[in-house]
Amino acid sequence: MKTSSILILIGIAAAIGALLMYSVDFSTYDTIATAKEKQGKYVHMIAKLDKSKPIQYDAIKDPNYLSFYAVDSLGGSTQVIYRNTKPAELEQSERVVLKGKMEGNVFECDNILLKCPSKYKDDKKELEKTVTQY
């Protein structure tokens, strides 16, 4: 095969690749305040569980309904509804990434990623916590 035709093929490949990348509808990381501005848009909201407000979850009532409040360091606060079971580590989590959409004053969440001490034992600070308990 000629070098020129290889180059053409690779050029076509790169063009297809660029088009494909363009087709991916990336979401964004947001704070509670910016998520509220983007009503109805799918975002990744970085926040913390508000431990001063109640977590509502009763598997006997409805295993697919969890409601809690999230806050962030910028002072934002919102109710979060997650139509799934409560992640067992929720109360222990240090930080949560909530994927979903802000609908009015409620964040409709379809996925929760937790940052938990136990999962992150490579983290030195977390490891130090385990020895200070003794």
């Binding site: 095969m1 000629k2 070098t3 035709s5 290889i6 690779i10 490949a13 690749g17 494909l20 990348m21 991916v24 509808d25 990336f26 979401s27 964004t28 990381y29 947001d30 799918y42 990744h44 009763d58 598997a59 006997i60 009532k61 409805d62 295993p63 697919n64 309904y65 409601s67 109710q79 509804i81 139509r83 799934n84 079971t85 067992a88 580590e89 222990q92 990434v97 994927k99 609908e103 009015g104 409620v106 409709e108 379809d110 990623l113 940052k115 938990c116 001490p117 136990s118 999962k119 992150y120 034992k121 490579d122 983290d123 030195k124 490891l127 130090e128 385990t130 020895v131 200070t132 003794y134």
Partner: protein
């Protein structure tokens, strides 16, 4: 201060051998380089001899290091941070190996040991290329062992070695006491998610795959240095096939692990860590096809070089992605921030090997021979090259999307994963599957250089006809019901299914009609058959995957909580609550949560015994009757980790896992009656169903109450309808005697419900109290899926692995008995692991 009870000797010896291995890797690299550079044969022999001896020392040192890491972990010497972090006393012995490669240091150690094993084979087999290949291997070893070094260089620690002491690494008040070891009760231990036999098998296989990709780079380097262009292809082919076999199997072992023991609900989630291991494999396969083209026609040599180097580049890039913590929030199983120094080291490793070889490649690019003639469109090589290019393209697409966190880091943007990550990949790769299916099916029949139209048509007629027939059967009798992404995507799934079925049939025909059943020559056809069968299995099992615990389908459960946004939700309700002892419909099954039992071996692990019955609705005959025992781990800090249990059938799997468990409530029954005011005929909902107040009787005289007409007593006639569809009668009563109200409560034990007639309200209404005791309720919530024809995926993988192996043995000219033996072994081992180990 002197500390009590520390065992410092093993660590000192271990660290010494790390340093020895490091120095040996440098000397070995230099002497192998010298051996490849010097002209005189006597000199060459001398250098080679030295290099080999030093390499043996390096190998033995690393094995010793491994033995000592194992020792400190198995002895629970928590004075060592590595042992404290990864081992614990409750850990079963079989997980000791797993806890070694859980950590960064252990897995680098494993990787470097594999380098040594493969390097030893190179020394015995590579002949004149030995010195050059081993130079590259030892340079890689230098970088890997550098990361295990743990010595200070002008204030910065280079690498981290597994023998660091806990008291030096962590700050804590206990370390000011000389007896701190007595205070540390137990190590942190292996993450419970990883306590699985796959954690023992999957990492070594995957790392062997990763480690093996250095060898082809070594061969490419040797030819670039000696300017002896095409002759490296023949000896490198067995190595590339080996990498394809081991890496491919290792990746799917990860998929099988995720499927059977992690609650991801599937075998592939397009997680960045999964993608990072898949991409090098795809490029490797693309390179393999270019090598095959070169061997037969002399074309595509440049692409073979490029893909070989890029494979290794992407192996290292994926190491970079998963080890530096850059993936952070996007991956469920990423490592965390390893520290700046470590990140720089990994970065240097990525660039240190690939950049020089890439530079040599581009410098010599114009000298590498290529045929300056157009390929015929009816030639096999033309389409093989197109296929390789498509594979390469899809690899680039996957890694481009996966690298999102890297763009964020570089450009400071805040982009995140798309809403439906899986669909983002699937919608592109389903098209790739169509093309790859058609190419792998048809191109085998093409001949190199030029093929007659008639020949192709005559050969492809039958496979085409059969696969059209099969896809029609599927469409009619077992249609793919994946409507949620629209008809366009559904059509693409059908096309991909057709293409892959066509490929399976065409390759089977090819083995029979063209190769006349000569298995020795049919490695490629077998591998293609297996690969496309695996893809077909993925299309069917994922396309028709069914959530049977979907509440909205089973209709068991109506959410009573009003949605605060006031709109109806379309989210699937995938979790189903099972109350102990109460049969609940689940798909075509009725499932009863019978009991839970603690694991005899492991603390905090509970098995939930779930009885599944499937009855024929017309005759009542029991069609299926089995017990599944998914389990859950409750960790010290209340974290819950679930392991699924799966009922395997030839045609489908019933897959269940526990998503929530009831927390044993040690407090007394603190629930109180909730009073509702009802008129006769009214109903009121409560958590487990609803009650209807049928009527009120004055001074009833029946089986239950024998009131006299002179009494002042009222009894309520209540029917309770539970959410399981059962109904119960209850008669709480109220009696006034001596100016005192006497409540005669009624209970419905199976429902843990207490009913009270609490009084009379205004407007002909009665006060009925409902109390639900939470004390007695044991429940779990369950997710359950049916994966149809999942066995096609595993069977396809095994066949593909066998195909790789057949080609490998043929290219390596293995003796017949050895070939048969190793094929049998691999097929048996994989069949056991993938189909029977967990069944």
């Amino acid at each position: 201060m002197t500390y009590e009870n520390e065992h410092l000797l093993p660590g000192q010896i271990g660290h010494f051998f790390v340093l020895l291995a490091f120095v040996a890797s440098i000397i070995s690299a230099i002497s192998f380089f010298k051996a490849s550079a010097v002209k005189s044969d006597i000199e060459k022999k001398k250098w080679l001899h030295l290099a080999r001896s030093i390499f043996v020392i390096e190998f033995l040192s690393l094995l010793t290091v491994f033995a000592f890491v194992y020792f400190i972990c198995s002895q629970h010497y928590f004075e060592y941070l590595y042992s404290y972090k990864h081992s614990s006393k409750e850990l079963e012995p079989k997980y000791l190996l797993a806890c070694i490669w859980e950590g960064q240091e252990g897995s680098f150690l494993l990787w470097s040991i594999w380098h040594c094993v493969l390097g030893s084979i190179v020394i015995f087999t590579a002949k004149k290329r030995e010195a050059a290949v081993m130079t590259v291997v030892n340079v890689a070893q230098f970088f890997l062992i550098l990361m295990l070094l743990g010595i200070y260089f002008s204030g910065t620690r280079i690498g981290s070695n597994p023998f660091m002491l806990t008291r030096n690494e962590l700050a804590g008040p206990i370390f000011s006491q000389s007896n701190y070891l007595d205070l540390i009760k137990d190590g942190v231990g292996l993450n419970v998610l990883l306590r699985n036999y796959w954690m023992v098998i999957h990492p070594p296989v995957l790392f062997l795959g990763f480690a093996s990709t250095i060898i082809p780079v070594g061969f490419a380097y040797s030819s670039l240095r000696s300017k002896d262009w095409g002759s490296w292809i023949k000896p490198v082919l067995p190595w590339v096939l080996f990498s394809g076999l081991v890496l491919g199997t290792g990746i799917m072992m990860g998929g099988k692990w995720a499927y059977e023991s992690l609650s991801f609900g599937g075998y592939w989630a397009w997680d960045p860590v999964e993608n990072a291991s898949l991409v090098p494999w795809i490029i490797l396969v693309a390179g393999l096809h270019c090598m095959a083209i070169y061997k037969s026609t002399g074309n595509a040599l440049r692409a073979a070089y490029l893909f070989t180097i890029l494979t290794y580049l992407f192996v290292l890039y994926s190491t970079f992605l998963t080890r530096t913590g850059i993936l952070g929030d996007t991956s469920v199983h990423s490592f965390t921030e390893a520290g700046m120094a470590m990140n720089v080291l990994i970065g240097i490793y990525v660039l240190g090997i690939t950049v020089p070889v890439l530079f040599m490649f581009f410098k010599n690019y114009s000298k590498i021979p290529s045929l300056e003639k157009e390929e015929n469109i009816s030639s096999r090589e033309f389409w093989m090259f197109i296929g390789a290019l498509i594979l390469f393209l899809s690899a680039i697409f996957i890694i481009s999307v996966t690298s999102l966190p890297v763009y964020n880091k570089i450009f400071g943007s805040n982009l995140a994963d798309p809403q439906d990550r899986e669909f983002t990949y699937n919608k592109v790769l389903v098209l790739v599957a169509i093309i790859i299916g058609l190419l792998t099916g048809a191109i085998q029949y093409f001949k190199y250089k030029k093929t007659g139209k008639k020949y192709i048509l005559s050969k492809l007629g039958w496979p085409l006809g059969i696969s059209i027939f099969l896809i029609t059967l599927i469409a009619l009798f077992y249609p793919i019901e994946y409507f949620k992404k629209g008809y366009g995507f559904l059509a693409a799934i059908y096309l991909a299914l057709f293409a892959t079925i066509f490929s399976v049939v065409a390759n089977a025909f090819y083995i029979k009609t063209v190769l006349k059943g000569n298995l020795k020559a049919s490695g490629a056809a077998i591998a293609h058959l297996g690969f496309t069968m695996m893809i077909a299995g993925m299309l069917i099992s994922s396309g028709n995957k069914e959530v049977i615990s979907d509440n909205s389908k089973t209709g068991v459960f109506i959410p009573f909580d009003k949605d605060p946004t006031g709109r109806s939700t379309e989210n699937p309700m995938e979790n189903l609550t099972l109350i102990k002892g109460i049969p609940t419909p689940l798909g075509k099954y009725t499932v009863t949560y019978l009991k839970d039992s603690a694991s005899p071996k492991e603390n905090n692990r509970t098995f939930y015994s779930l009885h599944f019955v499937n009855k024929d609705s017309a005759t009542g005959k029991v069609l299926e009757n089995f017990i599944l025992s998914p389990d859950s781990y409750r960790m010290k800090d209340n974290n819950l980790s679930s392991n699924p249990d799966t009922r395997h059938y030839l045609s489908h799997d019933v897959f269940t896992y526990v998503s929530t468990i009831s927390v044993p409530n040690k407090d007394a029954d603190t629930a109180s009656f909730k009073i509702h005011e009802l008129s006769v005929g009214d109903s009121v909902f409560f958590d487990k169903g609803y009650i209807v107040l049928n009527g009120i009787q004055k001074n009833p005289n029946n089986e239950r109450y024998q009131f006299q007409p002179t009494d002042t007593a009222l009894a309520a006639d209540i029917t309770l309808y539970s959410k399981e569809g059962t109904s119960y009668k209850a008669n709480p009563a109220l009696k006034i005697q001596n100016h005192q109200i006497d409540f005669l409560n009624d209970t419905i034990i199976t429902q843990n419900v207490y009913l009270q007639f609490a009084g009379i309200a205004q407007g002909n209404k009665f006060k009925i109290g409902i109390k639900e005791s939470k004390k007695l309720t044991d429940f779990i919530t369950l997710k359950a899926y049916v994966f149809p024809y999942i066995n096609l995926v595993w069977a396809g993988l095994i066949i593909m692995a066998a195909g790789f192996l057949v080609s490998l043995l043929q290219r390596a000219k293995a003796a017949k008995w050895m070939a048969i033996l190793s094929i049998c072994f691999v097929i048996l081992a994989l069949t056991y692991l993938f189909l029977f180990a967990n069944a």
